[in-house]
């Protein structure tokens, strides 16, 4: 489904602070797979997401979706078939627009933004039922400005918006890191449900090892631009938290 092939990425090339992060890095993700990526700071996990999304340029290599290269596409063109939920809950929604306006924007993704009505009243019932599905009591707050909701509520709506239209790929960029532990659990639970229900291919970067172990069907651990652990399916289920923690402590000390 998604393939990162032979990526080379150097930061601050030609200066004393030159850092070669990726050297001929490759990774492939199968359709319908939910991959969790863990690793210490600077391991390259966020850079990897940014490379896939086209937010940062690479020195060499290719990114393919369903066998086709997307390396020449600009970031906004790549997002046509990709969804992304960010660490910062403020990035997933427009604070000064109402929830209804936000949902309408997301609902229109992939279509033209012309002079038709911005909010389609016929869709309100659908939005209500989707919001009710979140279980946060948001279905009665359609006309409230997004900015007045809490971080957790915003993140839940951001998740809903990112997955509202058909996607090839969902990117979760430490999307629970800015939330309190209880809210983070709720969002993680929701994420898992959405990914399963919509049968999405997803990549989740997280600092929470427990989430990486409990959710998803493949776990990757990265360190200094390399994959140091890659377990999927049965093998992943047989991996305990202790095994992962032991390896994680080892790479963090390096």
């Amino acid at each position: 489904m998604l393939e990162v092939r032979d990526i080379t990425k150097t930061y601050n090339a030609g200066t004393v602070t030159e850092t070669r992060l990726f050297e001929h890095f490759s990774l492939s993700v199968e359709e319908g797979q939910f991959v969790s990526i863990v690793g210490s700071n600077g391991s390259g996990k966020t850079s990897l997401l940014n490379i896939i999304c086209g937010s940062i340029p690479v020195d060499g290599g290719d990114v393919l979706v369903a066998g086709e290269s997307i390396s020449r596409l600009k970031d906004y063109q790549r997002y046509a078939t990709m969804g992304r939920v960010y660490q910062n809950p403020a990035l997933g929604t427009c604070p000064n627009l109402t929830m209804l306006e936000n949902l309408s924007l997301a609902d229109n993704k992939g279509k033209s933004f012309g002079l038709g009505r911005g909010v389609n009243k016929k869709r309100i019932d659908f939005y209500r039922s989707e919001l009710a599905g979140l279980g946060l009591g948001l279905e009665d707050k359609l006309h409230i400005k997004m900015g007045s909701l809490s971080g957790g509520q915003r993140q839940a709506v951001a998740l809903l918006m990112a997955t509202m239209t058909p996607l090839k790929f969902l990117i979760l960029d430490e999307h629970t890191a800015a939330l309190d532990p209880k809210t983070a659990d709720i969002i993680m639970e929701l994420t898992d449900r959405v990914v399963r229900e919509k049968q999405l291919t997803a990549m989740m970067v997280t600092h929470n090892l427990r989430y990486a172990v409990e959710y998803g069907d493949r776990i990757l651990m990265m360190s200094q631009g390399h994959v140091v652990m890659d377990k999927a399916g049965e093998e992943k289920r047989n991996t305990s938290m202790d095994d992962i923690l032991a390896l994680f402590n080892q790479i963090s000390l390096q």
């Binding site: 403020a90 427009c94 627009l97």
Partner: protein
Amino acid sequence: MNLDLIVSTITQGLIYALVAFGVYITYTILDFPDLSVDGSFPLGAAVTAVLLVQGVNPWAALAAAIAAGILAGLATGVIHVVFHVRNLLAGIITQTALFSINLMVAGASNVPIGRGTDTIFTSGPAALLGDASLSTRRLVVSLVLVVVVKLVLDAYFRTKSGLLLRAVGDNSTLVTALGKNMGNVKILGLALSNGLVALAGGVVCQADKSFTATMGTGQVVFGLASVIIGISLFRKLSFVKGTTAVLVGSILYKACIQAAMQLGFDPFMLKFITAALFLLVLIVSGRKGEEIIHA
């Protein structure tokens, strides 16, 4: 204060609300402090003056002014989006270049419009006003024009395109995530904004019956002041539309300037008073200059 002065102040406030609408789109909605305004305002006036002198229909002349303003906005947008020039600098470049372009269009630094020339205040729909005085005609025509523009803008902000425009200033990351090129949306907003400002220039030209090359000086400040007064005044009343707030802000600001001038200042102190009052507005509303630039 006599009645004539009140009528003329309200008329001015109405006409200049068109400038404020333009600034509202860039400054408030797009979060883009656009300085091209000082150039696109006289551009609209220059185009209008030249066409009126040649006997073109005054409403057609305004349409041409809008088109010219749209081109000016496109220029600022392309300089910023395609060539990655910072927003303030992109506006300054356009504004400076427009000074020469305006002179080129007008052919002189001052173009008077002859007494007998038809304007939007004397011909067309305004003929329905019969033998009303010129100041009444100006008031009525300006009022109708500004209300129509306001309603069209309000309707536009509710369309899909309008929603996307509001989203760009609010959270451009989301627009990218929707698979849309936020650069194009910004260019669209700048074009729309400068089209409105040039329309204002065209209307002022028809009201004052002249184009002068320096008539753009201070228009950005005027627009910003109107927007900030209007938005601050109605901040707590969320049901008041932004355009309504800005329209009221424009009339109030013109009234403040007029009141200050009545204290006996020389006419050449007008721009100083405009600037000083703007500073006062910033201080009172708690928005300092730094925020204007970096907001």
